[in-house]
Every structure is written in structure tokens, then in C-alpha cells.
Symmetry: C2
Subunit: 157 residues, 2 copies
């Protein structure tokens, strides 16, 4: 690559991978519950005040149920699944937009037959997630739609 | 909508539109040259240090040739076309990633037969674009690939 400007272009590869982007295990605090999710950091330039990441949840998998002060700005890119934000549960498909406001419980679940892939924009400087304690889970489970979302394979919601 | 959490989900509509998102004319300084491009602001939350916009260039159209201090983080979402960043010209297709470094001339052009749509993440606080003066254009045109990009319908590049 003789021209350094060429490095500004990073082609998409097959299977929602990108040239020069590592596919990372989803790292969380020890007690966090999650399943079958990977992370690729697409943009993390020190000149940018945000990062753009691509998460992919394999069929039947789910992200951590958590909340934090920082906001998530999500665009679904692949497959289908369900999202929980606050007390709302909704099916999600490609190009849907989801905002996770501050200190709002949220989780994503892939369908049983297809992966769920999504972009997530976050502030580069952000707080650590908080996991639900027993009273938080109890309050969430008091809502039938949320309880169904948390308990059941996504295809059954 | 009884549950305010429902508003956190904004479904994708047909044709790369989004529920609750206005499609805006692409506004630039008076002398800027551009053609057939629209803008939708997908995320501009005051809690987020960046914004995420979706731009769409109609077949044969192009964005402004410009540079600025702030960085663009681009993901192609639809169609195909060509990008110029610095001195590199490359074809672009969905999910390709393009970084526009500080003070780097850049432009996107749609193919003649298909629109080019892309996400662009930028810092919420950013400087205004600068347009090329005659010596800048002369320097760019000294490079055959860049000159071809600037002059020709994209399908001919």
C-alpha cells in the first residue's frame, strides 16, 4: 500500500467482518449473564468523542441485562430479535433504531433461527454498567411482557 | 403510546427512512457544489458526544468536496459508488468503513444506476467545512485517479 490514504478505506468482508477489525469476546464483569455475543470495534479514533461498535448475538443468545449512565444509540444491521428498553419489549429488524436512555435497563435477544447484529454508538468516555439486583429483577418481572422476554427463548415471546 | 419506553424504538420504514426522522435537504455554504443528496439525523441526543446521520446520494449525484478539522466515520449502507479520501479513490459497497482524517479532502459519488447511502458519525461539536481553493484543486487534479474521480460520471471511473 504505497498511498497512506488507502488505509482510510476498510472493505467489508463476508459475514459481517471487516478488514483490520478483530472480532472480540464480549467481556463483562464476572457475574454478568450473557450468551453467544461477539464485539467488533469499527471506529475508535481518538479524534472522535464516540466509538462505533458492531455486536452480533448468535441464534438463541442474548446480551447482558444492564443499565448505566451513558446512552446507547443502536441500529440493527442483521437478522432479527427482540429488544428490552425500560419496560418496553419490541421485535427488531434491520435498520431499526433504538435509544437506550441513561440508567435504563436494557437487553437484546437474537431469534432462535437467526443471528442479531447491530451497531452501537457510545461516548468514548463512559461509566461502567450496573447489573440488576434482586429487587430490580422483581420490579422488571412484575411486567408480564418483560417477564416473558427475560424467561423465554426469543422465538416464543 | 401508553408506555414512554416505546418511544425508544424507532422502526425502519421502506426506502431507508425512519419513523420520526425528517429527511432534510443537504445544507451547505452558498458556494458549495453538491448534487442530489439528502440527510437524515438518526441520533443527536444531548447525552451523546457524537451524532449519527444517514446521507443518501441519488444516482449520478455527489457530496461536497471539502475538508475540516473534525473526523468523519462512515459506513456504507446502501448501493454503490466511489469515495475520495486524501489522494485515494476507491469503490465503496455496503458495510465498507471509511475514515476521513482531520483536514483531508473528501467526496462521495453515487454510481449512475443506484443511490449511495451511508451512515456518518461525527462529533456533536465540530468545525465548519472548508472548500477547496484553486491551488487545492490543482494539487488534487495533478493525481490522475483523483482527476478522473472529480470529472467523470462515477460509472466511468
Amino acid at each position: 500500500m504505497d498511498n497512506p490514504s488507502e488505509a482510510c478505506f476498510r472493505p467489508a468482508l463476508d459475514g459481517f467482518r471487516w478488514d483490520g477489525v478483530d472480532r472480540l469476546a464480549y467481556k463483562e464483569e464476572g457475574s454478568a449473564l450473557f450468551k453467544a455475543i461477539s464485539r467488533q470495534v469499527l471506529f475508535a479514533d481518538p479524534e472522535l468523542a464516540c466509538e462505533l461498535r458492531y455486536f452480533e448475538i448468535a441464534p438463541g443468545g442474548f446480551s447482558t441485562l444492564e443499565r448505566h449512565r451513558h446512552v446507547h444509540a443502536v441500529m440493527i444491521l442483521r437478522g432479527h430479535g427482540w429488544g428490552l428498553v425500560g419496560t418496553a419489549v419490541r421485535p427488531v429488524v434491520p435498520h431499526d433504531l433504538i435509544t437506550v436512555p441513561p440508567l435504563t435497563w436494557h437487553q437484546f435477544r437474537a431469534g432462535l433461527d437467526e443471528a442479531l447484529g447491530f451497531l452501537c454508538m457510545v461516548n468514548a468516555r463512559r461509566d461502567r454498567p450496573e447489573l440488576p439486583a434482586a429487587p430490580d429483577l422483581e420490579a422488571l418481572r412484575a411486567l408480564p411482557a418483560v417477564s416473558a422476554f427475560l424467561d423465554l427463548p426469543p422465538a416464543s415471546v
